[in-house]
C-alpha cells in the first residue's frame, strides 16, 4: 500500500475514534436514509408494505434518472435548469413519432439522441459562448418548453404501442417491480462506472474542481463540458419517455419543476454546486430521501401546506449534514 512506501510526515498513527467518525460521515446519507425508513415504519403501518415500497421506487425513478444527468453537469461546476422542459419535448416527440408509425425502439433511440443534441446546445453555449450555465439553461428552459407546445399542436396521438409501453413502463418478471425501476438501476450502475472508472469521469471532476488547471493539464475541457450537458439532456429525454409511457400520453405539460427536484436530489446527495464533488449513488439516494419524505407525509395524511414546510426543512437538514461531512473530511 501507498502508506508504507511513501515518506510519512507528522502523522502519528490515526486515532481509531476519528476513523469511525470519518466512516460515519462518509456514509451519512445512507445512515440518514436507513433511520428515516425506520422512523417511517413506526409512523405508518402502510409504509413498509411491498406495495408501497415498489411504489416509492417507481415514483422516484424518473427524478433519479434526471438527477444522474444533473449530477454530471453539477460536477463540472454547472447547472441544468432545462431538464424539465426537455422531459416535455421528449414526451411530445415520442408521441408524435409513434403516431407517425415509427418503430418504438427507433423512437426511443431517436428521442434520446435529439434530447442529447438539445443538451449539447446548452453545453456549447456554456463552453464556447462563455455564458453562465444558470443563464443558458434558464433561457433554454423557456425555449424548450415553447418548442414542446409548438410540436404538440395537432399532433397528439394515443400511445398504444405495446413494445413502447412494456419497455418503459411495463411490469417485470419480479411482480410489482416495473421497468422504470430496472432502467434506473442500470443507469445508476453506468453512471457509477463512468464517474469512477473512466478517464472522462476523472476529467469531469478536474474540470469542476479547477477549470484552468484542467485546461493547462491538457484536458479537452470544452468537449467534456458539452458531453456532460448532452448526457443530462439524454437522461431528461429518457425521463420524458418513461413519464410518457407511464401515462400512455404525450404532453407538453409534463416535467414542470423537475429541474428543481433533480437539483435538490443532487445537492442532498452531497454534490457541491461549485463543482468538483458528487457521487452517483448519493444523488439517487438524495432523490429517494426526498421522495420517501413526501410519501410518508402523504401516507400519514399530513395536510399539503405543512407538508411543504416539513419537506423543505428536511432538505435543509440533509444539506447541512452534507456540508458538515465535507468539512470534517477536509
Amino acid at each position: 500500500m501507498a502508506q508504507k512506501q511513501t515518506t510519512l510526515t507528522a502523522v502519528q498513527g490515526a486515532n481509531p475514534n476519528y476513523e469511525i467518525l470519518k466512516l460515519l460521515l462518509k456514509n451519512y446519507l445512507f445512515i440518514f436514509l436507513c433511520l428515516l425508513i425506520v422512523v417511517c415504519s413506526f409512523l405508518s403501518d402502510k409504509f413498509l408494505t411491498f406495495n408501497n415500497l415498489t411504489n416509492v421506487l417507481l415514483q422516484n425513478s424518473v427524478i433519479s434518472i434526471l438527477a444522474l444527468g444533473q449530477l454530471m453537469v453539477v460536477i463540472t461546476g454547472g447547472i441544468d435548469l432545462s431538464v424539465g422542459s426537455i422531459v416535455a419535448v421528449a414526451s411530445v416527440l415520442s408521441a408524435s413519432f409513434l403516431g407517425m408509425g415509427l418503430d418504438p425502439i427507433l423512437t426511443i433511440i431517436l428521442v434520446m439522441l435529439l434530447m442529447a443534441v438539445a443538451g449539447a446546445g446548452n453545453g456549447a453555449a456554456v463552453a464556447y459562448g462563455k455564458i453562465t450555465p444558470f443563464v443558458v439553461t434558464l433561457a433554454t428552459l423557456t425555449i424548450y418548453r415553447g418548442l414542446a407546445y409548438i410540436f404538440q399542436v395537432g399532433s397528439l396521438v394515443t400511445i398504444e404501442d405495446k413494445t413502447f409501453l412494456s419497455i418503459l413502463a411495463g411490469k417485470t418478471v419480479i411482480g410489482g417491480i416495473y421497468t422504470p425501476v430496472i432502467i434506473m438501476f442500470i443507469a445508476l450502475l453506468i453512471f457509477i462506472f463512468i464517474l469512477r472508472q473512466t478517464t472522462f469521469g476523472r476529467r469531469l471532476y478536474a474540470v469542476g474542481g479547477n477549470l484552468e488547471a484542467a485546461r493547462l493539464a491538457g484536458a479537452p475541457i470544452n468537449r467534456d463540458i458539452i458531453i456532460a450537458y448532452a448526457v443530462s439532456g439524454a437522461m431528461a429525454g429518457l425521463g420524458g419517455l418513461m413519464t410518457t409511457a407511464r401515462l400512455s400520453t404525450g404532453s407538453a405539460l409534463y416535467g414542470q419543476g423537475y429541474e428543481l427536484d433533480a437539483i435538490a436530489a443532487v445537492v442532498v446527495g452531497g454534490a457541491s454546486l461549485m463543482g468538483g464533488r458528487g457521487f452517483a449513488l448519493n444523488a439517487v439516494l438524495g432523490a429517494f430521501l426526498i421522495g420517501i419524505i413526501r410519501n410518508i407525509l402523504n401516507l400519514m395524511g399530513v395536510a399539503s401546506y405543512p407538508q411543504m414546510v416539513i419537506q423543505g426543512l428536511i432538505i435543509l437538514i440533509a444539506v447541512l449534514l452534507t456540508t458538515m461531512g465535507a468539512r470534517k473530511k477536509a
Binding site: T198, T199, R202, R203, Y205, A206, E212, A214, G218, G276
Partner: protein
Amino acid sequence: MSSNSSVLLEMRGIGKTFPGVRALHQIDFNIRAGEIHALCGENGAGKSTMMKILSGIYTPDEGEILFEGTAVQINRPDIAQRLGIAIIHQELSLVPELTVAENIFLGDYPQRLPGIVHWKKMKREAQNVLNEMGFDINVDQPAGTLGIAKQQVVEIAKALHRKAKVVILDEPTAPLANQDVERLIELVNKLRSENLGIVYISHRLPEVSRISDRVTVLKDGQLVTTRDIKGLTRDDLVKLMVGREVLKMRLGTVTDYKKKVLSVRELCTSKLLDNINFDLYEGEVLGLAGLVGSGRTELARAIFGADSFTGKVELHGKPLKLKNPRDAIQRGIALLPEDRKQQGLVLGMSALENMTIAGLDKFSTMGVMKKRQEREDGNLLVQKLQVKVSGLSQETRTLSGGNQQKLIIARWLYNKAKILIFDEPTRGIDVGAKSEIYQLINQFVKEGGSVIVISSELPEVLMCDRILIMARGKMVLEIPHAEASEENVIQHML
C-alpha cells in the same frame, strides 16, 4: 536594538494537535515592543499554526498567552483585534470594490449621527494614516485597482488605524518586485521605531538577516531556537531550519550547444510580447529574468499554447502548431505555472489524481482506467520524487507548497515531457524542498530534457546555464552563466 524593552506578547508552552498530527509542541515565544522578530522554518514547521493561534482562529490545546503581562484567551479573531494584534496575510483581505479609505475604516466607519457615515472625516483620517506612513495613495481609489505592494500598505494602514501593537506579516515580500521590497522594509523599520512589535515571517533569508533583531526557528512543530540575529550567517540560518547543510546549487551544466530543441522566432502577442526570438538546447537550463509585467509569464503561456500569439515556434526544426495546451503537451512541452493553486492543481482532488491528470491515457484503454496500474505508477513517482504524502489519496489542498510542486513535476515526468517551463519554481517553497526541486531539475536535464526557469529571485536565475532578460515585452539581453551577476542582470531588467 531593544533587548531590554518590554515584552508585549508572550506564548508559554503552547501546544496544538490536529487529528493525526502534532502541529505545535511546547512552544515558547515572545515579542517585545520595538523589535522585529523573524519567524523562520520550512513549510509545515508550524509557523502558520502559531499565527492562527495568535489571531484567534485556532485555540491552543495547552499553554498560555500573556498580553502585556496578563493572561488572555484569544479564541475569536475579534478578540485578537481588540487586543491590538493585527495579521497581514499573504492573501490580502481588502474588498476590491471599496475605496482605500473605506477599506481602512471597514467595520468602524466614523459617523456623523448613528448610521450616517462621516465621509469627510473618514477620508481625512485615512489620508493622515497613509501620509504618516510615508505613502502617497489616493484614498478615493478602489482598493482593487492598486498594485499588490500598495494594497499591502493599505492593509498595514488598516492595522495602524486600529491601534495595533503587534503586527504579524506573513511572507510580505513574496509577491513584491525588488523596488517595492525596499519600500516595505523601510516601512517596517518605521513601525519598529514607533515601538510596535513586529513578527516577520519570510522565506527570504537575506531579508531576515538584514532587518530583524531576533529570530525564532521552528522545525516540525518544535522550537529549535530563539536568538539574536547578530552573528548569524545565512548558512547558519539555513542549517537551523533544515537541520543540515544546503549545497550551493548550480542548475544545468550543458557544455555544447549543439542540439537545438526549441526555437522561437518573431513571437508577438496582441497585448505585450514584441518580437521575441530565442533558442533552447538539449540538456540546458535557461533562466528567464525580468520584472513582474515584463512578459515572462506571457511568453511561457504562449509557448505552452495557453494564449494565442503570432510568430513561429519550431520543435526539433519542425514547425509547431499551438492551438491549445493539449498540442504542446502532446509534443512534450510542459508548463509549471506560477500560481499552483489557481492554475496548476485541482486542490480538491487527491495527490494521485493530480499526478496522473495529464496522462490518463497511460493507464487506460478505450477510456476505461486501470486503477491498480495508476496506483502503482503513482507510487513509483512519489518514491522517485520523494513526495511527502500520507497516502496517494491525500487531498492536495493539505500538502505543502514544495510537495504540491513535486506533484506537478511528477505529472509531467509521467507524461514524458521533454521541455519543462517553470514559472517561479520555488515560490512559497521552503529551503529544504527548494534544493530538492533544484536536484530534480538537474536530474531532468541530465536525462536529456530542457528546462526554462522563470524567476523573480535573482540567485535562482543566476544558477542557470544561460540567462535571458526581458523588459516591457521585449527580449533585452542574453548572458551566459559565467558572465552573469546580480548587478548586470538587474541593470537590464529595469
